[in-house]
Symmetry: D2
Subunit: 404 residues, 4 copies
């Protein structure tokens, strides 16, 4: 252990398991630690403070170790300014660029700590005048001033707040052996709280919402004002239109539960009809579409973005076929969102998860525990998973928030 450095951290280090994470990280990577000072928060409200000497085999191992400690809220006791380098080529960064996490981040410039704007994961940090801002690699332009290396960067991990009410009380376990009704009540309360706080509610929804009979309940939630943003793919809108026009979903009559004659063509006919009308809004205006989720979203001025994918039929004219455009539109729509509910779509759910800062709670509802696990993987304490039937979940949620 030839090389060593001292790092400091403060906050709810015990409650949020940061201290455990810090010790684990040092040992797992072959380092050693010595606690120089640890002042424990005496009560639930007080912060703890840590000064830790970290040692590693050589300077390179130490650098790797310190890098790994950044997302856990550690930074050098004696900080220098961040290194900033110009990128030389559009769409790329210098090789040693700092790639962000989704946690609140600060960089040190001119001796001062600067908050980073538009926090998201997997971005570069660019200096724009006096501001620091997250920017995707593809949006970098030659000459952009990009933060590199690891010095002068401070991450302020989200603390798991045991007092922040419903969210923190919900189990993080991914299990189908839970009483869903309790969770629905809490999610309803969280949604009401978000609205009361003047923030917006986003839903990310897959076509299973329609297949499982949830569309009518979801439409009621839209009508009642509980959906400010809808992020989905082409398929949700297609099957919603199929339901509105033919009362089928993938050719299955949703009241009878049986396939109807020629029903397998209904989704293609629905696409043709909507596109002949000039798209969803035009179809609503022309009286072609008179019910359903998309109809309510048009009427309620919901911020709706449909992103294309390789499996799309059609697609509808409203579907954004370029995925970079779609990602940009998704990101814009997520501004001022206070909670995100993901309904049965791993694809769009992961897409949205990539864009969110760590402090926006995400509720992921899916009947497949593997999907819930995968989405939860990305944002630890940020994500609540609910393994249940999406149609029945929406039935319960609408019964609470938008009773008939």
């Amino acid at each position: 252990m030839q090389s060593s450095a001292t790092v400091v951290a403060e906050g709810h280090l015990i409650d949020s398991q940061l201290l455990t994470g810090i010790f684990d990280t040092v040992i797992e990577r072959g380092g050693a630690f010595e606690v120089l000072r640890f002042d424990i928060g005496r009560t639930n409200d007080e912060f703890s403070r840590l000064a830790l000497k970290v040692s590693a085999a050589d300077d390179s191992a130490l650098a790797a170790l310190l890098e790994a400690l950044i997302p856990l809220g550690c930074h050098a006791a004696h900080e220098h300014d961040a290194i900033v380098r110009d990128t030389d080529r559009d769409g790329t960064a210098p090789e040693d660029f700092y790639s962000t996490t989704n946690q609140r981040t600060q960089i040190r410039i001119g001796g001062h700590w600067l908050d980073v704007d538009r926090q998201r994961m997997d971005a570069a940090i660019v200096l724009v005048g006096e501001r620091a801002v997250c920017r995707k690699l593809r949006d970098l332009r030659a000459g952009d001033r990009v933060v590199c290396g690891l010095g002068g960067i401070r991450v302020l991990p989200e603390f798991r707040d045991r007092d922040r009410g419903d969210f923190s009380f919900m189990s993080n376990d991914v299990s189908s052996e839970r009483r869903v009704e309790v969770s629905v009540t809490r999610i309803a309360r969280m949604m009401t709280d978000v609205k009361a706080a003047g923030r917006r509610i986003a839903f990310v929804a897959g076509p299973v919402v329609v297949h499982t009979g949830g569309a009518r309940y979801f439409a009621r939630l839209v009508r009642a004002g509980f959906v400010d943003v809808l992020l989905a793919g082409n398929a949700l809108a297609v099957h919603d239109a199929e339901l509105a026009l033919f009362n089928t979903s993938l050719g299955v009559d949703l009241d009878a539960g049986a396939p109807v004659s020629g029903g397998h063509r209904h989704h293609m006919r629905a696409i043709n009809i909507v596109n002949r009308a000039g798209g969803i809004r035009a179809a609503v205006d022309a009286g072609v579409l008179t019910s359903g989720v998309m109809f309510e979203c048009v009427r309620g001025s919901v911020d709706t973005v449909l992103a294309g994918s390789i499996r799309d039929d059609g697609p509808l004219l409203d579907t954004i076929t370029d995925i970079i455009d779609a990602q940009n539109r998704y990101t814009e729509a997520l501004a001022n969102v206070g909670i995100v509910v993901v309904l049965s779509t791993m694809l769009h759910g992961i897409g949205v998860g990539n864009m969110l800062p760590a402090w926006v709670p995400v509720v992921c509802v899916d009947i497949n525990p593997a999907v819930v696990t995968k989405l939860a993987d990305r944002g630890s304490s940020q994500t609540i998973g609910l393994v249940t039937d999406v149609g029945l979940f929406l039935h319960q949620l609408a019964a609470q928030l938008a009773p008939e």
Copy 2:
């Protein structure tokens, strides 16, 4: 193809895919066939009739082929009597004993076809006086007259009856992408029909019924008379008692959705309390148990059997710890049952499936598609699978059959 024989079959051979199965079986096993005669049923109500010449490489291959055709309803055009041999040792059969399927079976004795009683799969057929009856190997006694070989045995496969209403209309696909509410309505109607026909309804239930908050709805179904038979394990009763005594399930408060202090011991305390009272019925009589599924089953005189398993805690005094006793009690309880609903228990569900004749419909509800697939595997057209949340399913079912 040196050896050949002629078999005949009649019935809804097309609709029930028996003819496809017969042809497939011959080809897959390396044989050849020639249709000697096929009279197709001209309308939906008429039977079809087949005479088929089957050829194989040698007599042994032919015998194997003919054996494989028996469950598909084929039998030799020119039948002899069944071979009957005494077994020489308690609990075992002659090596060439005929092992039954769960389809209606007849054996030819003295030139007459005799219906086999107590039809179930994986049994031997024993002649008892003038009757033929299915008997488990373990129940055979030295001297029992056991049907052996393959001659003189006729299976009458269940025809898939396209007109028999709700059951046949339900999809056999195992998918979570269905509207469960339609299925609930149909199952409710089937249950009402079974009661109207004077037959009984059996539920096979796992503890997930309690964990998912379904117990209160299930209790309402019991109270309303829609549960004649309850087949379960120790755990259902333990967690139901825990809920009744402590309002928790595995230590989780079912209203708050959060674990309560000391809750992990509640199930052990519940066992101790019930057993101190002398068992479930005694606990109900003594006013110790005053609510829940088991309470309603005692009050409603539901035919209840709890079978033990290797993972049991306790167990409760009511749990039958010897699995042969338990199987026998399950089998008796299934007499005159017109429909079986399996709620989230692969173990007991497969156990019950083994005991049922092919003509009793089984509805299997589980959030795990693999469980539904596995149970459905056993009884093809006999089983309907529903991939959904069991707690919410029971909520919907109780809302239809036993509204508050």
Copy 3:
């Protein structure tokens, strides 16, 4: 039953369960049938021939019924020419356009039956000079001559060929309780047969191929010439490049199985490095990428298409971000493909399934039975599902086809 018509069909009507399907369809839709004539194929090789009178409540119900019988190979006994109408608007069809299945289709023009080219599902049929061809709605242009209605259209369903070797012998059941090694041997044989027949092999692969350690085996298959076409998304290439550059996958060291320091940034650094080099091919040429799946694909001139999606990081310069372009490129790459193997990607697997005619066999390998079920849903007898670990599957397959 006021309206009736006579339809005819011929082929392996029993073996392929077409006759069962025809009868079921009539009854389920409230119609009635009378078999006018049925000549059964006497042996496994002979076709059967059916003439069926179909009745329904009124002309509209009859039309719906006849439409539902088309995909089952039925057509009117007395056929007229197909109706052809000009479309009046780019990107859309007349409202009554015929939407295709993926089965071989013929249309009757000028009294002659014309084969439809480029068969795929969910397309319109357009007359182009003397030819009929499938065309996506979005590719239609005002003035295109589009087949409408149902008359003069004949579908020739794929017959399940019980003699066509390995494929037909593999179980269609979606179960994890199978011996995978047997299936691997058969898939290997099918791949060898496809190559011997001068046709191409396409793989559709998700990033799980890399995460599960399958990349090295898959690379060996590429090197040995068993991958002619690779259809994937951005993530496969990103994680393959991460593995080549850092020996990690999502930051996990694939030899040690543990996360490495700073590893969560490796995939972003890999993107940056490859894009700085000018894309995958340029990175290979420049010696930046020297191993892995993409490296072998470049060296082996594999027809590789990467389609973008909403969850992409980067993306790599090689990823096609417009999904319509991507679909077109996928479709082109699938020309002359004799077998498709889908490895752990529902998204791209469904995308490819939409493009394929019914006679190209698809093998779908995934550890999640729900994915296999969903993909198999789309192409009945066309799809083989294998529920297993993708990394270990590739290990076994490479051991057979490309031993070290």
Copy 4:
């Protein structure tokens, strides 16, 4: 907050997340805490020491809170002796009996701390002479001296030892997106270490081991001495015998992968043949069984226990049909076991998990992530889950430990 008490704890409180758990527990249950003293372990090897004042609304809430802190290693700063009461009725305990966890436990008697023997969860603690021992409720007899209440009880939670090698380095995440080959190498090393330490290896195996083709590899592991204890059900032995006698598993030829004629009866014939021979050992001695897992277990004197269940066919004479006997035999067989590997059996896996103390590591291999999650739920840091194909897993494990 009217009532308060002081508790103390010591150990790896940070690393093992005990301190987080203690704080969470107090807050979640509506209490408050004040850290009186916290000496942090300065390095990885040093213990931390905590003195904590805990407050609650009233004495009853405080008692509940203190109870909840016991499993986290907290005990009263000023301890009294444990309360011991005679039970008055066979098979039951006093109502306030202390129900154990699976962690090391001590009780204070006569001012001295006494280690509890035969530690397991869900038991009572009985004083027998000078010793304290865990005993199942059903084994209590009137007059037994049972520990009651919460005073004088100390739990020493297992510390997660970051240096104890392979086990602690394996990921606890339940994901199928991992490279299984790395895990196999580690499990092989752990097994070798256990043998070297003079301890025993137990396997708990379901019939899927046979269905997936793993039996031949498992038999090789037995032959090589890596299986000291085999805990299973009737089905494993039945299908193993079926494989040995007919080369099929559930009627499917394991080399051809296709069902064979009459194969569905093979398992019943296998039962009959083995039982006619007088059971498994007799069948081996008589040369009836000459290969397979059970054959190797008999030859290798493996401590084998087959527990009955409600879904058993037969059962074999060797199967213990009373589940209390079976539990007792399982428990005895687990003496001196250093590692347990659970192969695809939730039923027997949970059964075994209930019997084990917290310090025996358990590896759970299953293709269904829900099973792995459920088993891991029970023993947190004790269980490693592996989501993969069991047949291929055994192939890899045998290749490392018992090469042909």
